[in-house]
C-alpha cells in the first residue's frame, strides 16, 4: 500500500456560463478514498464524474466544500509534483519521442531525469523498442500506455485516470485493463478512475462508485473479487451478474 488517502466533504461545483444561468456539475458529494485503494467512478455522461476528477487534480477550485489528499489541498500536492494523471486523449507532446515525453514530468518538477526509471517504465508498459518513436507513429493503445507510464514517472501519491481507455476498441481496452491491473498490483497507488465501462470499473477497482446526474453518489459497490485479478475473472458468472446490476442502475 502506498500513497495518500482522499477526503472529499460537502463538495459542490457550479458553473455560470452567463448571467442568470447556473449549471450544477456537482450538487453534493462526500467521498473517502483510503490510501492504496483503487476507486472507480461510473455514471451517465454529464453526471459530473470528470469534473470531480478535475477538482481532485486541482485544475479547478470547488464552489464549496473541501478536498484533502493526505491532509493537503490538491494544489499543494500538485505543487509538490505528487499527482499523476492521464486522460482519454493521451496528451503526449507530439514533437517529442516516447522517452522524452516520459522525461517531461522530471523536467517540469525541476528534477534531473532518472533515465533508468524512464526506461523501466517504458518496459513495464511494453513499449520497449519504441523509445525514440514519436506519438504519431504509435497506435492509440500504445499512446495510452505511454500516457499511463508518464503518469507514474514520479511515483505519485495519487493517480487520477479520466477515461484513459475510452477511445480504444474493446479488445485493446480489455488487454490494457489486464496490463494496468498488473502494474497497479505492484505499487497500489491510491487511484481514482473515471470510466463509462462497468466491466473496466469492476475489473480494476476495490470499490466502484455509481454517480447520478447532477453530481451525486447513487451507489457504492464493494467489489468482492480478490486480487490478483486475471482474465479468468471476466468469464465468471458473479462478475457478469454484478456488471449487469450496475448497468441496470445506469439506465435512465
Amino acid at each position: 500500500m502506498s500513497g495518500a488517502g482522499i477526503e472529499i466533504r460537502n463538495l459542490a461545483k457550479r458553473y455560470t456560463p452567463r448571467r442568470g444561468v447556473i449549471i450544477e456539475a456537482i450538487r453534493h458529494l462526500d467521498l473517502t478514498v483510503a490510501a492504496g485503494e483503487f476507486l472507480a467512478i461510473v455514471g451517465p455522461s454529464g453526471c459530473g464524474k470528470s469534473t470531480l476528477l478535475h477538482l481532485v487534480a486541482g485544475l479547478e477550485p470547488p464552489s464549496s466544500g473541501s478536498i484533502f489528499i493526505g491532509g493537503a489541498v490538491p494544489r499543494e500536492l500538485v505543487d509538490r509534483h505528487r499527482l499523476g494523471i492521464a486522460f482519454q486523449d493521451s496528451a503526449l507532446l507530439p514533437w517529442l519521442s516516447v522517452e522524452s515525453n516520459l522525461a517531461l514530468p522530471f523536467k517540469l518538477a525541476g528534477l534531473s531525469v532518472d533515465r533508468n526509471r524512464v526506461l523501466k517504465l517504458i518496459e513495464l508498459v511494453g513499449l520497449q523498442g519504441f523509445e525514440r518513436a514519436r506519438p504519431s507513429q504509435l497506435s492509440g493503445g500504445m499512446r495510452q500506455r505511454a500516457a499511463i507510464a508518464r503518469s507514474l514517472c514520479l511515483d505519485p501519491d495519487v493517480l487520477l485516470l479520466d477515461e484513459p481507455f475510452g477511445a480504444l476498441d474493446a479488445v485493446t481496452r480489455r488487454r490494457l485493463n489486464i496490463e494496468l491491473e498488473l502494474i497497479w498490483r505492484d505499487r497500489a497507488i491510491t487511484t481514482m478512475l473515471v470510466t463509462h465501462s462497468v466491466e473496466e470499473a469492476l475489473f480494476l477497482s476495490d470499490r466502484t462508485v455509481v454517480m447520478e446526474t447532477p453530481g451525486a453518489i447513487a451507489h457504492v459497490v464493494e467489489v468482492p473479487f480478490s486480487r490478483p485479478r486475471t482474465p479468468e475473472l471476466l468469464r465468471r458468472e458473479e462478475f457478469h451478474r454484478l456488471t449487469d446490476q450496475i448497468t441496470l442502475w445506469l439506465q435512465p
Binding site: A91, L93, L108, P135, S136, L160
Partner: protein, 252 residues
C-alpha cells in the same frame, strides 16, 4: 498521388508565370501604355547592364539589411511581448491595444516622425520593424493560445510553473503559427524598409526608385522594383519552406 498533384500545380505555376511575362513583353513592345511600361526584356537588359547592376545590387543589399534588421527587431519585440502577455495575463488587454494602435497608424504618417526621432539611415529599419511587429505579435500570441487544452491540463496537474509550461508547451506549439506569420511579415518588412528609404535614406532600392521616377529613368525604376519583388518573393518562399518544416515537426 500527392507527388503528381504537386508536380501539376508546379506546372500551372510556371505556365501562369510565362503567360504573365509574355503579356508584359507584348504590352511593352506594342507600347500599350507608351514608354512608361517597358517590355520585360528591356527591364532585364537595364537591370543587368554594367551601368546599373552594381548600383542595383548595392541598393538591394542595403534594403535587404534594413528589412532583415527590422524583421529581427520587430519580431523579437513581438515574441517577447507575447511571452510577457502569457506570463502576466492581466497585461493582455493593454498589450493587445498597444499592438492594435501600432497597426492602425499609417506608416506613411510615421515616416517624418521617425526621421526626427531616429535618423534618416535608421528610419527604414525602424519602419520595417513596426510593419512586422503586429503580424508577429498576433501570430505568437494566438499560436501560444492554440496549444491543446488537455496538454495544458496535464502540465498543470504535473505541477508545471507558468514558465515551464511556456517553454515546454506553448512556445513549441506557437512555432508553426509564427512561421505562417513570418510569410506575411517578410513582405511587410520590405514595404517598411522601402517606404522608410523614401524619406531620404542615404541608400537603398527605395531611393533608387524615387530618384529614377523623378529623373524619368523609367526602365531603371522598373528594374529596381523587379529587384525588390524578387527579394520579397525569395523571402516568402524561404518562410513557406520553414513553415512546412516546422508544421511537420511541431504539430501532430
Amino acid at each position: 498521388m500527392t507527388q503528381s498533384r504537386t508536380t501539376t500545380s508546379a506546372i500551372y505555376a510556371v505556365v501562369g508565370l510565362l503567360l504573365f511575362l509574355s503579356l508584359w513583353q507584348w504590352a511593352g513592345k506594342a507600347a500599350v501604355a507608351g514608354p512608361v511600361l517597358p517590355a520585360v526584356s528591356d527591364v532585364a537588359l537595364t537591370l543587368f547592364s554594367p551601368d546599373n547592376f552594381p548600383l542595383l545590387t548595392r541598393s538591394a543589399f542595403a534594403t535587404l539589411a534594413s528589412a532583415a534588421k527590422g524583421l529581427l527587431l520587430g519580431g523579437s519585440l513581438a515574441v517577447l511581448l507575447a511571452i510577457v502577455m502569457r506570463l502576466v495575463p492581466p497585461l493582455r488587454p493593454g498589450l493587445d491595444r498597444l499592438a492594435l494602435l501600432v497597426n492602425a497608424t499609417p506608416p506613411i504618417a510615421l515616416g517624418p516622425i521617425l526621421i526626427v526621432v531616429f535618423s534618416r539611415s535608421q528610419t527604414p529599419t525602424v519602419l520595417a520593424g513596426i510593419q512586422v511587429f503586429f503580424l508577429l505579435y498576433v501570430a505568437a500570441s494566438s499560436g501560444m493560445a492554440a496549444s491543446s487544452p488537455t496538454l495544458r491540463d496535464v502540465m498543470t496537474a504535473f505541477g508545471a510553473s507558468r514558465w515551464k509550461r511556456l517553454v515546454h508547451l506553448e512556445l513549441p506549439s506557437a512555432l508553426p503559427h509564427l512561421a505562417s506569420g513570418l510569410k506575411a511579415a517578410v513582405s511587410a518588412s520590405f514595404i517598411g524598409a522601402i517606404l522608410g528609404e523614401w524619406f531620404g535614406a542615404p541608400q537603398g532600392l527605395g531611393l533608387v526608385i524615387l530618384n529614377a521616377m523623378q529623373n524619368f529613368q523609367i526602365r531603371l525604376m522598373w528594374a529596381a522594383v523587379t529587384m525588390a519583388v524578387a527579394m520579397s518573393l525569395t523571402g516568402f518562399l524561404i518562410a513557406t519552406a520553414l513553415e512546412k518544416a516546422l508544421a511537420r515537426r511541431f504539430s501532430r
